[in-house]
Amino acid sequence: MEGYSKPAAGELLIEVQDLAKHYGPIRAVDGISFEVRRGDVLGFLGPNGAGKTTAMKMITGFVEPDRGSVRVAGHDLANASLEARRKIGYLPETAPAYGEMTVAGFLEFVAEARGIDNIAAALDRVVQAAALGRVVHQTIETLSKGFQRRVSLAQALIHDPEVLILDEPTDGLDPNQKASVQELITSLSAGRAIVLSTHILDEAERVCNRALVISEGRILVDSTPEALIAKAPNHNVMRLVLDSTALPDLMTSLEGKPWCDRVERLSETTIDIYPQRGENHLGALMELTAGLEIHSIHLQEGRLNELFRDITRGVEA
């Protein structure tokens, strides 16, 4: 994890210590430890079967760990389970809900079970937040998958929790719904600790300020999405298209620059310039090419997908 930066510290809301769970011979989670602070939106990234969902089930108290401990807002899940669960809003992976109930009836049930005093006000708030106004009196089984997921998200928010655990919150939503849920999560992040699992890396990049890469039940990287992107193979690579006659001299000159790691020629007129340590040296390149006939310069952004593949491939190997 060397070289990755973590966000600034806030109040600790989730403390996970050496958490482990085996299902027979299968090692689902293998001694993970991490902390989540108020204001953090932590993305659990990992391939299918990496242990993300099992870890979330243990944090919410649904699955008992074989080893390790979880504290939520200062409450030990093993000794003060109810107090800890009162602080958590949880959207399970399958977004389960009682299909025969209406949206309003279901949300009222969750509110009552959570001991909320002003149920009507809580209902209004989450119906608005999850944009459920149109379907609030419909039975849940008649709703589309996207709406059903939003209903489940609404129940997770009904008690205005300090800790939100969201397992694949945008799974099954169309692009517009995805964007709206991502905006909602971002708007909720102030004053809360949010843990969300996703295998959509763009989502982590857009929503999270911290990312844990998990594979085979172990944490491989604990960082920020930005720092991860900076480590991605193509981050800040400059693609230059220019007049072919100027290319040989420019390449010679680039290879002498300390900020340039290497230059790759893609065609008669196109080169990729790889900077040292993924740093941005567009300004230096502009100076160097002043006076040359440049057709285009494109600064590439490192994609999390590429780094993700590199990291998890290493573990699998």
């Binding site: 108290g61 649904f62 109810l82 809900a97 109930m101 049930f109 959570r114 129940q155």
Partner: protein, 243 residues
């Protein structure tokens, strides 16, 4: 627990299942009470409900597991068990809430048999203490079978499997109290074991109560029987909930 109770109780009436159950129960119990081959209430013309109560346990062994089978199996299959058990409710509270809802539903079904009592009143002057005691016996037996059924519902995600296992277990507990069964047990294992099994017989305690003999030992039996199965069911659910 209150929220779970309310949700579950309403659920029986928010789908056709609850109404279908009530209709089947009323038709079947009415048939067994009035039929010439079974209760013969109209032929005997006795101002009591013995014709009605005598066959209820046999009806319950089939119909109560039908009420119990969905209680946890459906939650586990649909994944709502994960939602329910991560709310700030204890497993015991959720389990009891569901049990009480199911038991109340069975109580409503029993209440709807009042025309049988009305018919007995038309035939003469029934001993209402015995009638009430019979209803108490029926309610306690229904609760006992419900507790049995809930354990199997917690054990299996498949409602049909839960139903079959619950019927088998309930039938076994009824057969245990039959004289023929006890005699066989006595012959095989001796008189002491026969007495032990007789004291565990649900039929004996039901019959005693339904004939107006309200004894503490019968009430304690039903209480311990039901609590024992409920506690076992909670342990089973705790083991199986995440599988």
């Amino acid at each position: 627990m209150k929220a779970v109770f309310r949700r579950e109780f309403k659920a029986y009436f928010s789908s056709p299942l609850g109404y279908v159950y009530i209709v089947i129960f009323l038709v079947a119990s009415g048939f067994l009470t009035l039929s010439r081959d079974f209760g013969r209430m109209l032929e005997l013309r006795q101002a009591d409900l013995a014709s009605f109560f005598d066959y209820l346990p046999w009806l319950f062994v089939v119909l109560v597991p039908a009420v119990a089978m969905r209680l946890w199996a459906e939650e586990r299959k649909s994944g709502t068990v994960e939602l329910l058990l991560t709310l700030p409710i204890t497993l015991e509270g959720a389990y009891l809430g569901k049990f009480l809802a199911g038991w109340s539903f069975l109580g409503v079904s029993l209440f709807l048999t009042w025309p049988v009592a009305y018919q007995a009143a038309r035939l003469g002057n029934p001993d209402w203490g015995v009638v009430l005691s019979g209803y108490l016996a029926s309610l306690l037996t229904a609760g006992a079978f419900l507790a049995v059924g809930m354990l199997f519902s917690a054990l299996s995600r498949n409602q049909v499997v839960a139903f079959i296992l619950a019927v088998a277990a309930s039938v076994a507990f009824l057969l245990l109290g039959l004289p023929q069964t006890l005699e066989t047990i006595g012959n095989l294992l001796g008189g002491y074991v026969e007495q032990l099994f007789a004291s565990l017989s649900l039929v004996d305690h039901f019959e005693a109560l339904s004939r107006g003999l309200v004894e503490l030992r019968s009430l304690v039996f039903f209480f311990l029987f039901t609590i024992g199965w409920l506690a076992s069911g909670m342990l089973v659910l705790d083991r199986t909930r995440a599988t």
